[in-house]
C-alpha cells in the first residue's frame, strides 16, 4: 500500500445526481452518496425507500436514468455487471443466493477470481493456492469444519455467511450487503457483527439493514433514505435524534 494522504481522502464510491424512474415513478431521486475508504456505512429507511434499488444501480443490475456512480475513478453506470465485479464491487443479495447443489468448498471456489472466462474455466486447476484460500475464507465465516457439506443442508444463517464468504473470495474493495442478518438468531447476529467488523479492515462496506441493534454495532456512519432521497446522514446518535427521521419512521 503506497497510498498517500491525498488518496485516502478521496471517497472510494461517489454517487452524484443518481436517478432512476420506473414508468414515471422515481425510485431513486437525484441521490448523492459518498463512501470513504475503509468505512462501514449502513443505509436505513422505511420500506420502498429505494435502498435495494441503490445497490442494484451500483452493481449494474438496474440501469440509471441519469446521474453518475464513480468507483475508484471508474464510471460504473456504463459498465457491464461482470466488469463491475471485476473492478472490485461485491454484492450480497437479500435472500441468501448460493448454489444449493454444490458443497461449501465448491461454492467458495466458484468465486475465486481466476478462470473467469470460458477457456480459463475449462482448464482451471484446483491448485494448492486455491485450496488454501478457500479454507482461509471458510474459517473466517465460521464454516471451516463444513467444507464438504452440501450447501442446501446449511442453516439459514450459515447460508448468509456462505454468501458473504463467496464475496470475500473476490477480495472486493467495496462490499455491499443487503440485510445480512435477516432471519438470524441473536447469537448469529452477534457473530455476524464481529465478522463484519473483522472483514471491513482494508475495504469499504455498504450495508442495508433494519435491525437497529445490529446497525449500532457496526456502523461508522448511517444514511437514511426516504422516497429515493437522502433524508439524513451522520452518526447513529445524530440520525436517531433527527426529528425528520423520527417523523418518517413513526408516521404523522
Amino acid at each position: 500500500m503506497t497510498a498517500v494522504g491525498f488518496e485516502m481522502k478521496k471517497p472510494v464510491l461517489a454517487i452524484e445526481g443518481l436517478t432512476v424512474s420506473f414508468d414515471g415513478f422515481k425510485a431513486v431521486d437525484n441521490l448523492n452518496l459518498y463512501i470513504d475508504r475503509n468505512e462501514v456505512r449502513v443505509v436505513i429507511g422505511p420500506n420502498g425507500a429505494g435502498k435495494t434499488t441503490v445497490l442494484d444501480l451500483i452493481c449494474g443490475k438496474t440501469r440509471a436514468t441519469s446521474g453518475s456512480i464513480q468507483f475508484d475513478g471508474q464510471e460504473l453506470t456504463k459498465m457491464r455487471e461482470y466488469n463491475i465485479v471485476r473492478a472490485g464491487v461485491g454484492r450480497k443479495f437479500q435472500n441468501p443466493s448460493i448454489y444449493e447443489n454444490l458443497t461449501v468448498f465448491e461454492n467458495l471456489e466458484m468465486s475465486y477470481p481466476a478462470g473467469r472466462k470460458v477457456w480459463g474455466a475449462l482448464f482451471f486447476k484446483r491448485s494448492a493456492q486455491v485450496i488454501a484460500r478457500v479454507e482461509e475464507v471458510a474459517r473466517e465465516i465460521f464454516l471451516g469444519d463444513l467444507l464438504q457439506q452440501q450447501a442446501d443442508l446449511l442453516s439459514h444463517g450459515q447460508k448468509q455467511w456462505l454468501e458473504i464468504g463467496m464475496l470475500l473470495m473476490q477480495d472486493p474493495e467495496l462490499l455491499m450487503l443487503d440485510e445480512p442478518v435477516a432471519g438470524m438468531s441473536v447469537n448469529e447476529r452477534a457473530q455476524t457483527a464481529e465478522l463484519l467488523n473483522r472483514i471491513s479492515q482494508g475495504r469499504s462496506v455498504l450495508v442495508i439493514e433494519h435491525d437497529m441493534e445490529f446497525v449500532k454495532s457496526i456502523a461508522h456512519k448511517v444514511t437514511v433514505l426516504h422516497q429515493g432521497k437522502v433524508l439524513a446522514e451522520g452518526s447513529m446518535e445524530s440520525v436517531q435524534s433527527n426529528p425528520k427521521v423520527i417523523e418518517v419512521y413513526l408516521g404523522h
Binding site: 443490475k61 461482470y82 448460493i98 444449493e100 447443489n101 466458484m110 472466462k117 470460458v118 482448464f123 463467496m166
Partner: protein
C-alpha cells in the same frame, strides 16, 4: 493421475462407459445383420445431438428446440460434397448441363451456384461440417444470450429458426434439392459407400466419434465450467454478480452442442446416403430433445441409450403398429417429463444400481456423475414475478 480419474468420472462411470462400448462396438456388430447395423448406425448419429443436449439443456438449462438446424447444416455440408462427387460430367452426361447435381438441372440451373463451389474440396467440407453450424450457433447465441433473452423465449426463437430453415430449404429447390433433399449419394473420394463393408466401417467411425464427443462432454462437465453451467442454471444472477460473463458460457456450451449435432448430421449423410429437410424442422428437433429426456437430461451416457431406445421403438412400432406410434411417443414424452425428469439414468440411479449391487452382493455404489438432481432451473416464470 487424479485428472484422468476425474475425466473418466471414477470407477463407476468407467464401468458405465465400458458397458456402452462393449454394447456398441462388440455386441451390435456381432449380432445384427448389415441392414440392422446400419440402422443402429443411423440411431447413433441422433445420439450425437442428444449428448449435446445433455450439456446445454440438462446442465446449462438452455433448451434448444432447433438442434435439427445444426444436424441438418452439418448433414447438408457433407451431402453437398458427396453430391458433387456423384455428379461428375461422365455420369450426368444426359443432363442439359452435365456436371451439376441432377436436381439443379431439373430446375433449369445451368451453372453451379457459388455456394456449392467450395464443396469440391474434401478438406473444406470437413472443416465446414463443424465450422458452419458452430458459426451459426455463435451468431444465434450472441444475439440471444447477450441480449438476455429468457429461457422460454430462447426455446421459441430456436424453434422458429428451425421452421425458417426448413421453409428456406424447401423453397430454394434449385439450390438445395427442395423437399426431396440431396439424394443418390454414392461415393466418398472414390470409396463406394453403399457396400456392406463400407457401412460397417462407417458404423465404427460413427461410434468412435460418438465416444470422442462423450469424452469431451465429460471433460467439460468435470471442469470448473461444468460447475458454472449448473450454477448458472440454478442461480444465474449470483454467477453474474460473481464476476462472470454468463452469456459467454451459454454461447460456448450452445456451440459445443451445435458441433456435436453437426458431426451427427454429417455421419448421417454418409451412412444413410441422403439428407433432406425432414431432419431439420420443428418435429425432428423436438424429437431429439425427447431422446435426451428419455435417456436422462443429466447423463451423457443416458442420452445415447435414449437415442437408441426411442429410435428402435419408433422403427419397430411404425413398422408393426403405425397407428400406435404417435400415442406412444406422446405418452412417453408426457410420462418422462412429468414423472421421470431424470429419465433412464435417473431410474438407474434410484433403483437399478441397488438391484445390481444386490445381485453382485456388493455394497451400493456411492453416487456418481448422474446425481438425481431435480431440475430447479426452470422455476423462473411463475415464482419470481415481482
Amino acid at each position: 493421475m487424479k485428472a484422468l480419474d476425474k475425466l473418466l468420472g471414477g470407477q463407476q462411470n468407467l464401468i458405465g462407459i465400458m458397458l456402452l462400448a462393449v454394447l456398441i462396438l462388440v455386441v451390435f456388430p456381432l449380432t445384427l445383420d448389415a441392414f440392422r447395423l446400419n440402422m443402429v448406425g443411423k440411431y447413433l448419429t441422433y445420439a450425437f445431438v442428444a449428448v449435446g443436449l445433455v450439456l446445454c439443456w440438462g446442465y446449462g438449462g438452455i433448451l434448444s428446440l432447433g438442434q435439427g438446424v445444426f444436424f441438418g447444416v452439418g448433414g447438408y455440408c457433407m451431402a453437398m460434397f458427396l453430391k458433387l462427387e456423384a455428379s461428375d460430367p461422365q455420369s450426368t452426361k444426359i443432363q442439359s448441363t452435365p456436371g451439376i447435381p441432377d436436381f439443379m438441372d431439373w430446375n433449369q440451373i445451368t451453372e453451379l451456384p457459388w455456394l456449392w463451389q467450395p464443396f469440391h474440396s474434401f478438406t473444406f467440407t470437413v472443416f465446414a461440417v463443424i465450422a458452419v453450424p458452430v458459426l451459426l450457433a455463435f451468431i444465434i447465441g450472441i444475439a440471444l444470450f447477450k441480449r438476455r433473452v429468457g429461457d422460454v423465449y430462447f426455446s421459441i426463437v430456436t424453434q422458429a429458426i428451425a421452421l425458417i430453415l426448413t421453409v428456406l430449404i424447401v423453397g430454394q429447390q434449385g439450390l438445395t434439392g427442395g423437399v426431396n433433399g440431396i439424394t443418390d449419394l454414392k461415393t466418398l473420394l472414390g470409396w463406394d459407400l453403399r457396400t456392406d463393408s463400407a457401412k460397417m466401417i462407417l458404423y465404427f467411425i460413427s461410434a468412435g466419434l460418438l465416444f470422442g464427443c462423450i469424452f469431451i462432454g465429460r471433460f467439460i462437465l468435470a471442469s470448473k465450467l461444468g460447475r458454472l453451467l449448473m450454477a448458472m442454471r440454478d442461480k444465474e444472477e449470483r454467477v453474474r454478480f460473481s464476476g462472470y460473463d454468463v452469456a459467454s458460457f451459454k454461447i460456448f456450451v450452445f456451440c459445443v452442442a451445435a458441433a456435436f449435432s453437426a458431426i451427427g448430421g454429417a455421419m448421417f449423410a454418409l451412412q444413410v446416403g441422403f439428407m433432406s429437410p425432414s431432419f431439420v424442422g420443428i418435429v425432428p428437433s423436438i424429437e431429439m430433445v425427447i431422446f435426451a429426456a428419455v435417456g436422462g437430461r443429466m447423463s451423457l451416457l443416458g442420452a445415447v441409450y435414449g437415442a437408441l431406445l426411442v429410435n428402435y421403438g419408433k422403427t419397430y412400432f411404425s413398422e408393426s403398429f403405425p397407428e400406435l406410434w404417435l400415442y406412444l411417443m406422446g405418452g412417453l414424452f408426457i410420462a418422462v417429463v412429468m414423472y421421470f425428469p431424470n429419465g433412464l439414468a435417473g431410474l438407474w440411479d434410484s433403483h437399478g444400481r441397488q438391484a445390481l449391487a444386490k445381485l453382485l452382493r456388493r455394497k451400493p455404489a456411492p453416487k456418481a456423475e448422474i446425481a438425481p438432481v431435480t431440475p430447479k432451473a426452470e422455476t423462473k416464470i411463475l415464482e419470481t414475478q415481482p
